[in-house]
Amino acid sequence: MPPHPETWLRVTPEGLHCLPGGFTVDPVRPVERAVITHGHADHARPGHASVLATPETLAIMRARMGEGRAGASQQPLLPGEEVAHNGVRIRLAPAGHVLGSAQVCLEWQGSRAVVSGDYKRSRDPTCAPFEPVPCDVFVTEATFGLPIFRHPPADGEIARLLRSVELFPERTHVVGCYALGKCQRVIALLREAGWDRPIHLHGALMGLCRLYEELGVPLGDLRPATVAEKAALRGAVVLAPPSAVADRWARRLAEPVVAIASGWMRVRQRARLRGVELPLVISDHADWAELNATIDEVGAPEVWVTHGRDDALIHAMARRGIRGRALHLIGLGDDEEEDAAPEPAAAEGAEA
């Protein structure tokens, strides 16, 4: 009988550690051997000796951390290919979260666990769609693990943004979105909706957009918002980190309509706390329905929940006879979308 994954996959202070393989998935502190699901700062951290990830994730890590800090040795692994470490077979499968995001599929002595990282099931023109992999233990996030979270189709939210631009042609629409993934997805959706005018960007977003284009995701005419005249930004769409849209940086814009693209915008109080005039419910995380459908689809008899609303999700799984376990991994959920604080203090001074 194959060994249960809990005998060879353990929660350590560094993160989820594979004992026979000697590596950790998304470690929160520097380790000898890391496997990284995707490039968000709470999953991909600097200073590991060796890093295994998709080529896109490795490129994103290099761009964000600098060559030296993104892993002394980088080992790219394409989705569909397989490597083995001390008898543990490792495969990466697309997670549909951001460009390069992957689930880590581990097999040891006939027992299979899939660590999905962050994922979503709705369409995203900037990355490969999630691929369900049958397994014995499925490791999932639960950022939006409450039944109140059901993200509407993203193209409908983009249509709302464009209707607002039409209604207020004198004003600048500034959309707060996270630099990696959300920003490029919003741009790609705008392009799909027929918006072919230039899109202006806060300086903090430019680098990753360029990288996306180098990696084969076309984003159209992008320009820095910082150098544009106030008058030239009337009627324009400007993208900026969420921390900047209602703060000093936004003063350069013409009577801005403040929008934020995030799954949290579904809850009014969240939107109000952040001073948002146009909440756009666009998320790169699975909503409640997607979480549950995915769990059913991979068919795992046991599901481990890394972070988020594990209480509600585990309760819902139990009603279907699926064993749930809360891992309470620390350090996850710190990316912008998962950040509940109305005013992220760290980004306060960012004028770039």
């Binding site: 039944p147 979270f149 509407p152 209604l167 209602a246 809850v267 009014r268 509600a312 309760h315 819902a316």
Partner: protein
């Protein structure tokens, strides 16, 4: 598609801080919605369309039958608001292909549906809507719609959309009923203006401009009449065969808050005056007392006894059906005095004229009045007709000089709308003994106006550079910046830690020159508190 369209309008109005943006959203609604939808939407926004069909308990019952109790409890706990929780968690049913209801369908069906069939009806509607549509419908049905667009703003949008003065709309507003088809026909130039007949409608008020001391010299004393400017709320009393109403300055019906005044309105006339809390000895109480009676749908006998209200009358607009507004002020005043003599209504008296020979003399009279209930003087041209709005040169308000203190900034908070990126609201404090031989600052008020744009930029930067800690949106700052704060009156209050409340505090000057230790002490402020002001009860 009307409930979804209305939900979309609601959502934008709720999140939009800017007045102009709200007006634009409302104009688009009037422009794009068919009758009767636009009128019903208008009625819902102005609180003229209120349902009591569904209690929150009914809605809760519906959702409880469709969701897991643990998940519902966790969700409700997270969201807070029940209507929003229900709107978000409501399980979408596959295969529902009925279109979402129109507002008119909601209104008409509710009227004819027996109570027992309500749950099924409402559940059926919720099945056809998305989350924001469900939220709007639940709020509408439970009578809890709070929009963030005042009825006055809504009528202003209507006026802008139709290219008519808002006063013309206000004058017929209360004589027409949802869905306002005759109103829209008139606004679109397809019919005459609706005639309100005897219905108690609001007549737009005549308003005053502030008078600067320097301008006083230009006035000729014999052409002007003076009276006290009382610190109450401006009201219009309308009574006749069609009913009785007390209108606020903006044309809201506030009758429900002052039943004893409505009871006293046993006449056929339209009057202008100031609603005040008047004590048994005839003393006018400070505004804080009146606040206890405001914004209430119902009042208890206790409140009526503790804070008895009356109206000080200063103008007569209609005597019976006769429109006196074209008459000069002196003529209307004579008619008002005759009317008073004849009708002698309870709870009402006349605002006394103040005799004066020169403005120097009048200035002395003004300076001598320190009662908290007096804001200053009103000056009205003797020959002025009663005209709607703020016509320059006819009525002046000549407020008495404000009081002033030097206070220390303690906390700051960001503003709204255009000021959302600025720390523009400041809590300031004064020194008092801390009980251990030292001194401590105690907050005495909050101000968010009075400074120039340049001063705001400076203050914002100062706040950011001198923050010592944060509590959510509030920043506590170093206690080192002194502001000169002016205000109209100081009143005792047991709702404030300092025991005193300021009326209209605003910032006159940033005192960069003054060390915080030399700012005023609480006892300096206490000396400015009016004698005889009662403590406002909770």
């Amino acid at each position: 598609m009307s409930v979804p369209a209305f939900a979309d309008l609601l959502e934008r109005l709720v999140f939009t801080p800017g007045r102009n943006a709200k007006l634009a959203l409302l104009r688009r609604w009037f422009d794009t919605q068919p009758d009767p939808e636009r009128g019903l939407g208008l009625a819902a926004l102005t609180d003229e369309l209120v349902f009591t069909a569904a209690k929150p308990a009914l809605v809760k019952g519906l959702v409880a039958a469709r969701t897991d109790p643990v998940l519902l409890a966790l969700s409700h706990d997270y969201v807070g608001d029940l209507a929003e929780t229900v709107a978000l968690i409501w399980p979408q049913r596959e295969g529902v292909n009925a279109p979402p209801p129109d507002l008119s369908e909601v209104v008409e069906t509710l009227e004819v549906t027996p109570k027992a069939e309500l749950p099924e009806l409402i559940a059926g509607w919720l099945d056809t809507l998305d989350a924001s549509g469900r939220y709007a419908l639940i709020k509408l049905l439970t009578g809890e719609l709070r929009v963030g667009a005042s009825a006055r703003l809504t009528r202003l949008a209507l006026a802008e959309w139709a290219g008519k003065p808002v006063e013309e709309i206000e004058e017929v507003w209360h004589g027409v009923a949802p869905p306002y088809l005759p109103l829209f026909r008139w606004l679109e130039g397809k019919a005459e203006r609706p005639d309100p007949r005897d219905a108690p409608v609001f007549r737009p008020l005549m308003l005053a401009h502030p008078l600067e001391d320097a301008d006083v010299a230009k006035l000729e004393p014999s052409e002007w009449r003076a009276e006290w400017k009382w610190d109450g709320i401006r009201v219009q009393l309308t009574a006749g065969p069609g009913g009785r109403r007390i209108w606020s300055r903006g044309g809201e019906d506030v009758s429900g808050a002052f039943p004893e005044v409505v009871e006293a309105m046993d006449f056929h006339a339209v009057l202008d005056g100031e609603l005040l809390v008047i004590r048994e000895d005839g003393q006018v109480a400070p505004f804080a007392d009146l606040q206890q009676r405001l914004n209430r749908k119902a009042v208890t006998p206790r409140m009526q006894k503790d804070h008895p209200v009356g109206v000080r009358l200063y103008d007569l607009l209609f005597d019976g059906g006769e429109d006196l507004r074209p008459l000069p002020l002196d003529g209307r005043r004579r008619r008002l005095e005759e009317w008073m003599e004849r009708v002698r209504p309870a709870r009402m008296d006349l605002s006394a004229p103040i005799a004066f020979a020169s403005f120097t003399q009048l200035a002395e009279i003004r300076a001598g009045a320190r009662a908290a209930s007096i804001e200053g003087l009103m000056l009205k041209r003797a020959d002025s007709p009663y005209v709607a709005g703020r016509v320059k040169g006819l009525w002046w308000k000549w407020k008495r000089d404000p009081l002033s203190i030097d206070a220390v900034v303690m906390y700051a908070q960001r503003g709204h709308g255009k000021r959302s990126s600025f720390y523009s609201d400041y809590t300031f404090g004064l020194w008092r003994p801390d009980g251990n031989g030292g001194e401590e600052l105690v907050p005495v008020g909050k101000a968010y106006s009075g400074y120039t744009d340049q001063e705001l930029v400076w203050l914002d930067r100062w706040i950011r550079n001198h923050t010592v800690s944060r509590f959510g949106p509030v920043r506590e700052v170093e206690k080192s910046l002194v502001l000169e704060v002016i205000f109209d009156a100081a009143q005792l209050s047991n709702r404030h830690k300092s025991g005193v409340a300021l009326r209209f505090p605003r910032i006159l000057r940033i005192r960069k020159d003054k060390p915080a230790g030399e700012a005023d002490r609480l006892e300096n402020l206490m000396n400015l508190v009016e004698k005889g002001t009662a403590e406002a009860a909770d």
